[in-house]
Amino acid sequence: MTRLGRSPVLVTNPVVRFLARRLLYSIVVLIGVLVVVFALVHVVPGDPVRIALGTRYTPQAYDALRSASGMDRPLIEQFFGYMGSALTGDLGVSFRNGDPVTVTLLERLPATVSLAFVGIVIALLIALPAGIWSALHEGRASDAIVRVTSQFGVSIPDFWMGILLIALFASTLHWLPTSGYRPLFDDPAGWLRHVILPGLTVGLVAAAIMTRYIRSAVLEVAAMGYVRTARSKGLPPRVVTMRHTVRNAAIPVLTITGIQLATILGGVIVVEVVFAWPGLGRLVYNAVAARDYPVIQGAVLLIAALFLLINLIVDALYAVVDPRIRLS
């Protein structure tokens, strides 16, 4: 068969083209997210402004909030207004306390990022060796132990684990504080002491999930022809494992890490509530309880955008790791 030609494209570097397509795709999804987020408020049965005011309702407050939040203008105008301001970083103001949403979000972001970061690091430190080891010893006792443990880990509610950890390490043993947060750059030691328990809570559950994925990814790779070729060359077992099996599992591992990081960003809500962690999750929770729609919208948008960003980074890493994408 003859190749007729490539579609016209400015840059011929395959990596750039790959990333450009992924970026375009992310932007499309982000717009979709924007639509959903915007629709959130307007799908509410009843009047969102009235609900938000709740017991503080007075006709004047109602009118004031309504015009301040722009809810008195036609829907289409509101949507483009929202999209426009979102692009410039203005996400409106909180219904509850009038603070600009963007500022509030940025204040709370570092705490959540700390937690997610520590969580994923703990998860990788456990899941990578456990998943690989378990796959390489498939069918044997050590594999069974890992599988059973990870099954348990996947079945435990994270808030329960958090409470139990607090009960044990904080309330009973008094090794660690029960709640609270210290910013990293102000007080590194304090940061560490405070982030351990919540980080473990997030990380252990994530570790259980990732161990299972990594195990099955390594098993799949181990069954491939080139692993047999490697053995047929008489290479030492460690080389076969590391250079052939594990290295080719890097791509699925990257995928699951990305997915898991994104899941953590969402699941972090409950852990933040348990540990009174001043992050985005707790912010969203409070906002939901108070029907503070602009904050909810802003937080959801931010988290979705972060998720897409993580995916883009994972894609970029694919291009680095996989020569099939680098050189097509």
Binding site: M1, L4, R6, R21, Y226, R231, G234, N248, P323, R324
Partner: protein, 539 residues
Amino acid sequence: MADPVLGVRDLRVRIGRREIVRGISFDVARDQTLGIVGESGSGKSMTVLAATGLLDAPGAVISGTSTLAGAADSAPAQLVGASARLLREVHGGRIGFVFQDPGTSLNPLLTVERQITESLEAHRNMTRQQARGRALELLEAVGLPQPQTRLNSYPHQLSGGQRQRVMIAIALACDPELLIADEPTTSLDVTTQAQIIDLVRDLQRDFGTAVVWISHDLGVIGQVADDVTVLQDGQAVEQAPVLDVFDNPQQPYTRELLNARPLIGAPGPPPADSEAPVLLRVEGLDVRFPVTTPVGRSTVHAVKDLSFQIRHGTTLGLVGESGSGKSTVAASLTGLVKPDAGAASLDGLGVRGAAVKALRRRISLVFQDPFSSLNPRTRAGAAIGEPLWVHRLAKGKQARQKRVAELLELVGLPAAFASRYPHELSGGQRQRVSIARALATEPDLLILDESTASLDVSVQARVLDLLADLQRELNLTYLFIGHDLAVIQRMSHDVLVMRDGEAVEYRPAAQLFESPEQDYTRALLAAVPPARPRSALPG
């Protein structure tokens, strides 16, 4: 006679309660090639892997002896039950391996150079520079074009034939005494296969390596082997020098294998009625496909302005290597693919567009893979009955069952098979069910797309006989698509050779095979392993 490089005695492999390799013995003489031939399930791969200590099946119990002759400074090594350390020294260092599928046998993330040098690293003390030099030497020796550039290539940038050359280079990197080649050319085109066969022969001559060549294809074995071992059901049925096996087969199984081979020069189908009207006329068929890769889109021009016709009761053999576009032609005629241009007519009625369903009745399709051609969750009877139901050809369940039984009988299967699921049938039986299903609508045209390519040689022979009989009895018209020229010759009245989407040569079969006009056709014919072993032919 010098002692053999590898001496295997009474090798047995048992997995669970089944003994798969049942007491096989053979010798591999120095500088010679031992051909091991057998159909699927004969245990040929398992035998050789077990004999060289590379078998990795959980729960496998290996017994017997496999002795690798001593090298200049070492004693003979016993490979069955050997220590992991000894096996690591032997693998790659004294025995090199080439496997069947070049697509998955090379690590996609490592360069060609790395995959060669890691072998050198493991067995020789070489600096990076020296190893690189040796890798370059090897790539040149295996005939890889532009070896300097190829050192830094990744497997996905090479063609199947090129990858197989790289595998051979890797296998020979440390100058082993023995090369094990397990179906090395089975996944390759016939012309590439011929090149690889020549390559291995030249390398054997230059480096003095003994070779064990495993294949299901007797023709290939005839080309490469000095001695032959025929395996059936885990046992060595016949072992003799190649000429003896081909000219004086002692065992009935060997004779069966030899007779089942389709050969160029064997008689074709009985002559058809030259006055028969044209059934299918295709003009200017043109098909293009968009192709999406992670980095962008491009277009593949699969079929370029193709025209041909088939008369009632005859077979047109459509032959080409992979990528020639032959399967796309079938897909266009059956409506699976929309052509970009061209017209086709069946008895004068247009094939595209109107009255599609009526047309579907008249054209039937049989695919290559016997297993995935049948819904694994449907019984054979239901599969055959489906076209009857769709086109309302039999009223009511009774009538359908009766017709299904008739069709099963037509293809040589007992009526009881209607209640069997595909996994309860052998490959040949499944293919017969597919044929029965294709015949259910009493079609005018039967398209057979590589329909026997996945079958064992003996099974293939029987299915081809069946198809020939059916053509004669029912005056069927076939479009027979394949890559095996001998099979094409056996079945076809006319032949169309395709390459890169274009018709290269289109003539009556007898003429084409006797005096091919185009170079490409000549090259294809020349690449087909001849009927007699190479050593029997002059030159």
